[in-house]
């Protein structure tokens, strides 16, 4: 349950960041929206990625950015990077 709830939060957060960057209402974006439908071009894409990196404190590799086509792919990618970040134990923390 806890894991699902966390996923929902994360997707809501990603959608909010995309909405802010694109200056469009968040409720016009769903997990199934494609970037094409949302009129997100390559220039918009780098802005959104920049905002997501800031929001989640992660670094998205260039090759990952070029393959993004939809909100769901973005959310999945962000979730993976956030989990990787959380698994990294800070030195001395153990």
């Amino acid at each position: 349950m806890a894991e699902n709830l966390e996923s929902d939060d994360l997707s809501t957060q990603v959608i909010r960041v995309i909405a802010q960057a694109q200056r469009i209402p968040a409720d016009s974006i769903s997990l199934d929206s494609t970037f094409e439908e949302l009129k997100i071009d390559s220039l918009d894409g780098i802005n959104i990625v920049f905002a997501i990196e800031n929001e989640f404190g992660i670094s998205i590799p260039d090759e990952g950015v070029q393959n993004l086509r939809s909100v769901r792919e973005t959310v999945d990618g962000v979730r993976k990077l956030v989990e990787e970040k959380n698994q990294t134990v800070p030195p001395g923390a153990a």
């Binding site: 802005n47 990196e53 800031n54």
Partner: protein
């Protein structure tokens, strides 16, 4: 060679958001060099400037568009919209392929660059905003105009400091005259009120601590201004055939380099630009009635420009009306040539020479009729408009009243 008609004009600057507002103030001799909205901390040594205070980007662009569009490119686009609307040209099909966009800008988009450096060097944050490059590029205005209006011919930007937009207009003029293109949108824009850039101007020690007083004995330097001017140039016969309203004509262009000093002006370079412009126009110097001077209001410029005018025009210099409209819209750097060319075209069209405002006291070293403070009615037919840049680059346009 084709005659080159001017069929559209557009301006945004401290004088107003369109040509009509700007002309009213020019003809009234109203200086719009005012206290800076942001005095700086610590305060700049100069506290006045000609800011386009009435320009609201959100009236012209969506928030989304503004992410990618710097102030200098916004100003260029809005001025181009006014000029193109007036020309009533549509760049669909063949005309789009046969039209050019040539703009001038001295430094392009400084705000994005300064924000990036602030993060990088002040905040130690290496993450610079993603659109810094396309916002900063000096051709951002030209590209936006080309994109918005579907102009597919030659499009580029000239950067020659304070001569940028005269060089740009000269290039566009040459292309229309030769038949390389049928029409061109040309001019320039500059947005100088970015802190780092203002500090750099402050360090040059050429900005007046009060207001710019061109040719006046007590002048203390230039006043910075921001803005854009755009013109639509068109093959004369094309314009006539479609019944366009022809506002003026460009008849000659001359350019020269001092090859003398990085910043110190000299007489010979500007004199060559003026003489070669007259030769290009195939008219004798005596036909010129009005000179829209570079007239920055620095001690050095105004004296050398006076001497250059005397060397080109000889005794006819005493008959010339010479004014510096920078006294009203400030020195708009890469936009200066365009805004002043428009002021000159309007002076020819209305038969009213805009004055040199803020003039207090004659300087024997600048002994010309500088039309002090009050516009003058005069039936004028030919005029020149000068720009001289740091780096010693000079450009002069010759303009004629429309028939």
């Amino acid at each position: 060679m084709n005659r080159v008609a001017v069929t559209g004009l557009g301006i945004v600057c401290a004088l107003g958001n369109n040509v009509a507002e700007c002309w009213n103030r020019l003809a009234a001799g109203e200086s719009c060099i005012l206290p800076l909205r942001d005095p700086g901390s610590p305060p700049y040594k100069f506290q006045n400037g000609a800011q386009a205070l009435g320009f609201d980007p959100l009236q012209h662009f969506s928030e989304k568009e503004l992410i990618a569009l710097e102030r200098f490119a916004q100003l260029a686009t809005v001025a181009a919209r006014e000029a193109i609307a007036q020309s009533r040209l549509r760049f669909q099909g063949e005309l789009g392929d046969l039209s050019a966009v040539v703009t001038g800008s001295s430094v392009g988009g400084q705000f994005a660059e300064e924000e990036g450096y602030y993060r990088l060097y002040k905040e130690n944050n290496p993450r610079v905003a993603p659109l810094t490059i396309p916002r900063t590029m000096a051709n951002a205005g030209a590209s936006r105009i080309s994109l918005e209006f579907g102009i597919h011919g030659p499009a580029y930007t000239v950067a020659t400091a304070c001569s940028s937009s005269n060089h740009a207009i000269g290039q566009a003029f040459a292309m229309v005259r030769s038949g390389q293109v049928r029409a061109a949108v040309t001019g320039g824009s500059e947005a100088v009120f970015a802190e780092g850039l203002l500090r750099a101007w402050e360090a040059m020690r050429v900005v007046s601590p009060e207001v710019c007083r061109p040719f006046s004995a007590d002048r203390k330097g230039l006043s910075l201004g921001e803005g854009a001017g755009m013109l639509v140039l068109e093959d004369w016969e094309h314009a006539r055939a479609r019944g366009a309203d022809i506002l003026g004509e460009i008849v000659g262009f001359g350019m020269s380099s001092d090859a003398h000093h990085l910043t110190q002006p000299c007489v010979e370079g500007p004199a060559k630009a003026m003489a070669w412009a007259l030769r290009d126009a195939s008219i004798p110097a005596e036909r010129i009635d009005y000179v829209n001077a570079h007239g920055t209001g620095t001690q050095a410029n105004d004296i050398t420009e006076t001497q250059a005018i005397r060397s080109v025009f000889g005794e006819h210099a005493d008959n010339l009306l010479v004014s510096s409209t920078k006294s009203m819209h400030g020195h708009t750097l890469g936009a200066a040539g365009a805004i002043e060319a428009i002021a000159t075209i309007l002076a020819l069209k209305h038969g009213v020479v805009p004055p040199t405002a803020n003039f207090t006291k004659a300087d024997p070293a600048c002994a010309l009729d500088v039309v002090p403070n009050q516009a003058r009615e005069a039936g004028i037919e030919f005029a020149i408009s000068n720009t001289f840049a740091f780096g010693g680059l000079n450009a002069t346009l010759v303009l004629r009243r429309a028939d």
